[in-house]
Amino acid sequence: MGFYILRRLLHAIPVLLGVTLITFVLFHVVCPNAAEILVGTKGGTGEEIKARIAKESARLGTDQPLTVQYGRFLNELVHWDFGQSWRLQKGRDVIDMLGDGVGPSLMLAVPAFLIELLLAVSLALFCAYYRNSVADITTVIVTVAMMSVPALSYILFGQYFLAHTWNMFPVFGYQPGLAGLATLALPILIWVALALGGEVRFYRTVMLEEMRKDYVRTAASKGLSTKRILFKHVFKNGMIPLITRVIVTVPFLMLGSLLIERFFGIPGLGSMTIDAVNQNDLPVIKAMVVISAILLVVFNLITDLCYALVDPRVRLK
């Protein structure tokens, strides 16, 4: 097991290096000289601006060769230094901003995800129990239909009709703590509606796949009831893909959802990303890319380790 962990850790290094390289190249192509954006085009004559850009370039190091710039980028990364924001909250450390954004994102994502998971797994068990019946097919079709509506339409319809016209929910806003749950109700509802279809389909397949295995037939021939087989044996084995999927989803929960956060005014990482993209706040975007990549790599690693822990066959490959 120790050797397996070591090997997996070593595998993560080239991936992280690759991510930094892609990020660096991408940002260089989008914005060859960050100083120009930072200085802008206003305030003074052309000469003054040119001088200011040159000064700023020297400060940022963008007048150096690319290899040096990449080295500098890596060096900052290793020191966990993402610089200061340019536009959103000018002069503030990006890492602090991101730290503030995680809370609201999780406030929305965690309850939404838990509700979604609970609903999806129970519906999947229901479908697996009554498989190929009208109830099963209807459930799948309805959840898939819910998934097929674009997120933006859900938000617009929900905000306008449910919240504004019929006053069932607050339209907009965010409060930290339990008081915020009222404003989060509609976003959570939309999240669940969007995600349920895929999850139900996934867990239903998992359960059905398990039910075709030999041990189920053995249990049935032993005389166990379908209910007992389903809830005791199949469900337990189905937990393996379930846990894996949950762990893989965690980084996405932390990164938040772009549209929902944006429209409901939740100051999470998702809406921060959109703002940063709209306002060309490069340090924020850069930090988002790198940190989310690290999160993804780390959680992938954890998933693999959990998998190896549960299923010894994986370790030997």
């Binding site: 080239p14 989008v30 339409s153």
Partner: protein, 410 residues
């Protein structure tokens, strides 16, 4: 020559009986655009090959053009029947049909299962209808005036069955109905292009990684793991931004036949391309996994022992056996791209002014809702159209997956 001709018997129509009879008939009726596409693509491709061969063989009685053309016609006809649910025989490239005693093959089996699934048939009919609308809109038969703004008819309500405003108009007098119809063509282009690009990249890279293993595998796995670790949305936004702001590229594109023949702006074309270029990792992963499983099977060893070139083994022997995975991924990528376009349009990349896409309509609709009384029709039209298409593909994929899964046979 006579022998070869004698083998070309027309496929006999399978009698359709039982519960799905009506549905099957409707499916057959509306599948003509798909059949048409099949014939066009297959026919065109094969025709090129035949002409190449005809040049090579000259007027050889059996291999020259006339015989080839006859086979081609057979194949095209059979392809049309097959897609129109009129016959269950899988068309073959050489124009022959299954002989008595020959095996049916996995696709045939899958199709028989698919045909029994009523949800799949309904979804298929829906898809065919969308394709008809798409073709008609692209050809300019319907929704011709989608880009024309009529300042005298701003925010007309639906039910105004005069002139082009059959589903109301938007804030500068575009016809919502016409835009929604034109949006069908745009959405079909988006989905098809993006899915084709990613299936090509993912399929080929996955095949290479799975088949060769070792450093090729390591490299390709590293590449897609890295790409997956970067948040896709930022990748797409950055790349679309680069393509859009590149003046030289814009001029080249606007002068090219793509602009003329598709009628898509560079912004839209660039996001199609970028979605395709970034979303191939899933296909690649799946194809790789299946190739690893297949490469040690006996038929591959046999082919290798017979001296079949590696390229041929990969693409002719193994690839057909992973094709079902690609097909399913294709459909999922298709709807993924269409839904993604909505988000990207909201973010301000992609669609340009004067272009009609569902994403743009939904994005515009947020302004409609702010005014009193509610202008609900633009949002409703675009959402309903998108919903229908995505739902049809989703349901069809589900059925397809069940049909292709051999473990469900019992």
């Amino acid at each position: 020559m006579t022998l070869a001709v004698a083998r070309h018997v027309h496929a006999v129509d399978l009698p359709v009986r039982g519960r799905g009879a009506v549905l099957s008939r409707v499916a057959r009726l509306v599948s003509w655009p798909l059949a048409l596409l099949y014939v066009l693509v297959g026919f065109g491709w094969r025709l090129l090959a035949l002409f190449a061969r005809g040049l090579r063989y000259g007027t050889h009685p059996e291999r020259g053009l006339p015989e080839g053309l006859r086979r081609l016609r057979q194949h095209a006809e059979q392809g049309a029947r097959y897609l129109g649910f009129a016959s269950d025989e899988v068309p073959r490239w050489n124009g022959t049909l299954r002989q008595p005693g020959e095996s049916y093959g996995p696709w045939h089996e899958a199709r028989r299962r698919l045909k029994r699934n009523r949800v799949a048939l309904v979804a298929w009919i829906g898809l065919a209808l969308y394709l008809m609308v798409g073709i008609a809109a692209q050809a300019g038969w319907i929704a011709e005036g989608y880009g024309q703004a009529d300042k005298t008819a701003v925010y007309k309500e639906p039910g105004y069955f005069e002139g082009p405003w059959f589903f109301g108009t938007d804030y500068i007098g575009h016809s919502v109905g016409a835009m929604a119809l034109r949006g069908t063509a745009v959405a079909l282009w988006i989905g098809t292009f993006a899915a084709v690009v990613s299936c090509l990249i993912g399929g080929i890279l996955g095949a290479l990684a799975g088949f060769f293993g070792r450093w090729v595998d390591d490299l390709i796995v590293w590449f897609y793991t890295t790409l997956e670790s970067v948040p896709e949305i930022l990748l797409v936004v950055a790349a679309a931004y680069v393509i859009k702001t590149n003046e030289g590229l814009r001029d080249t594109y606007n002068a090219s036949f793509l602009k003329e023949s598709l009628g898509l702006s560079l912004g839209l074309f660039s996001i199609i391309l970028v979605i395709g270029l970034t979303s191939w990792t899933g296909v690649c992963r799946q194809v790789r996994g299946e190739f690893i499983r297949q490469r040690d099977l006996d038929y591959v060893t046999a082919a290798r022992a017979l001296g079949v070139p590696t390229r041929r083994i990969i693409f002719r022997h193994v690839f057909p056996n992973v094709m079902h995975l690609v097909l399913i991924s294709f459909s999922l990528l298709f709807i993924g791209a269409i839904k993604y376009e909505v988000v990207l349009t909201f973010l301000g990349v992609g669609v340009e002014p004067g272009e009609a896409s569902w994403g743009r309509m939904i994005d515009q609709a947020k302004l409609d809702l702010l005014s009193e009384p509610t202008k609900w029709w633009q949002l409703t039209a675009a959402t309903a159209m998108l919903f229908g298409l995505v739902l049809c593909v989703n349901l069809f994929v589900d059925a397809l997956r069940d049909a292709l899964d051999p473990r469900l046979k019992d």
